[in-house]
């Protein structure tokens, strides 16, 4: 059974009905990893928030979203909130703002767990520690008792991943999870994400503007431009033989490693001169 089906999804904002995304359709099978590529303002984050039912009040949503063949568009807020963090969870770009600065991180992970299971508060600590260990954190006892500001950016993002995965969700949505991190930390976080997603068999919608990062996590990819999907396929296919001129531009700019130093780099407008 297909895990997530999105059909003709569109989102408009405000009284003037400004279009954010239009006619977006894709599907994610269980344990599949789908990359969503696009620039700032292309509608990536709006798509993610629409799936999670987290769009602001002034958003008008059209189209269909089905999770495990059940439409979530008809769900009331209460049923939706039981779905969030359980069947599907999310990892945000900025781990500092995604965590509550006034609460010890161990307790935050425990709350994510207790919200959706019948765990007793006592036995939850063991699960929390185990989860923190699985995202590659050392000294989990000390980390669990720390406040977010006492941790490094990489540690915070691992805590967020632990929170997102502690209820063994079917789908994890990652919105630019490593953009705020150093390359070395990014590499470690990506490795951890790959490991835990694999171990849990969870599917993933991985949103990024960085093709290289997407290629390290995902097997399928869709490319978004101005709120629409312009290309979709396997990572290998799209990245080696892009069809849409915009995708060609994206792929060319991402291959910095293949350029001789000092030479002029190809840019997106070399390939695609639409609205950018």
């Amino acid at each position: 059974m297909t895990l997530l089906e999105v059909e003709g999804l569109s989102v408009r904002f405000g009284r003037r009905r400004r279009r954010a995304i239009e006619d977006v359709s894709f599907a994610i099978e269980p344990s599949q990893r789908l990359g969503l590529i696009g620039e700032s303002g292309s509608g990536k984050t709006v798509t993610a928030l629409a799936l999670m039912g987290l769009l602001p009040q002034n958003a008008a949503v059209g189209g269909e979203i089905r999770v495990n063949a059940v439409s979530v568009r008809d769900l009331d807020e209460h049923s939706y909130s039981r779905l969030r963090g359980d069947a599907m969870s999310m990892v945000f770009q900025e781990p500092m703002t995604a965590l509550d600065p006034t609460m010890r991180v161990g307790r935050q992970v425990a709350e994510a767990l207790l919200l959706h299971s019948r765990h007793q508060a006592g036995s939850s600590r063991k699960s929390v520690m185990a989860m923190l260990e699985r995202v590659g954190l050392d000294e989990v006892g000390r980390i669990a008792d720390s406040y977010p500001h006492q941790l490094s950016g990489g540690q915070r993002q691992r805590v967020c991943i632990a929170m997102a995965l502690i209820n063994s969700p079917d789908l994890v949505i990652c919105d630019e999870p490593t953009t705020a991190l150093d390359v070395t930390v990014q590499a470690k976080v990506l490795q951890v994400l790959n490991e835990v997603l694999g171990a849990e068999g969870a599917a993933c919608l991985f949103i990024s503007h960085d093709l290289a990062v997407v290629s390290q996590v995902c097997d399928q990819v869709i490319v978004m431009l101005d709120g629409r999907i312009v290309e979709a396929g396997t990572v290998a296919g799209v990245f080696s033989h892009p069809e849409h001129p915009y995708t060609k531009g994206l792929v060319a700019t991402a291959r910095l490693d293949q350029m001789p130093p000092g030479e002029r780099l190809p840019t997106v407008p070399d390939f695609y001169r639409g609205q950018l």
Binding site: E39, A187, S215, T253, L256, P266, T267, V268
Partner: protein, 254 residues
Amino acid sequence: MSILRAEAVSRCFGAFPALRGIDLEVGLGQRLGIVGESGAGKTTLIKLLAGLDQPDSGQVWFDQKIVSGRPERDLGFLRSSLQIVFQDPRSSLNPRMRVGSIITEPLRSKRVRRELNDIDQRQRLGEVLKMVDLPADSADRYPHEFSGGQRQRIAIARALAPKPQVLIADEPVSSLDVSVRAQVINLLADLVEREGLTLLFVSHDLMVVRHLCDSVIVMRAGEIVERGQSAEVFEHPQTDYTKALWAAVPRIRV
């Protein structure tokens, strides 16, 4: 002939040693990459070189003139000849100023004007806007009307306005989309070439540094752990730290 020199420079913030005895010499026309993780001391180092902060010990020289320990009013020579482009153009441009006055700000300082023989502000504004490929009518608009890549161009235009000899770029493309990154790197490379600038380029992205810089220093915990020509350092890294940094650069895996 060196234009910037740091001798045994150290700087502590409370008990935390951000820099421990850095020695560095930058030649005229050199394009030096400064790489390392967050907290390695990269930004502290360039603040000291730019005279925006004072070392606890050691000395900084610019063009045979001492920078460290001097009061701001004596630093006019440095303010006109050394400029900085910051990481995030969303915070480095005053949201309540028009682009025109943002760019000409370096030209309005009395200390800088003394060094520049009263440059014509209007004319220079037009010149630098053209140099960074922004339309001339940008001057009357506000920063929030521009995209991230365009805002970084505005920041670059501001840095170029006083005709500096040295341009320091502190992670200038880290907050930009990968697809916009190439355009800003091309622009920087062009400008450095055409204006004969000396470039200090701070980044945690080694691929960009390899592309843009002829030489590189690798920093870790307030010290320089490796230095040399870019090609040499990246193809034959000597320390495990540099190897790890190089290995961490994300590459397309198909």
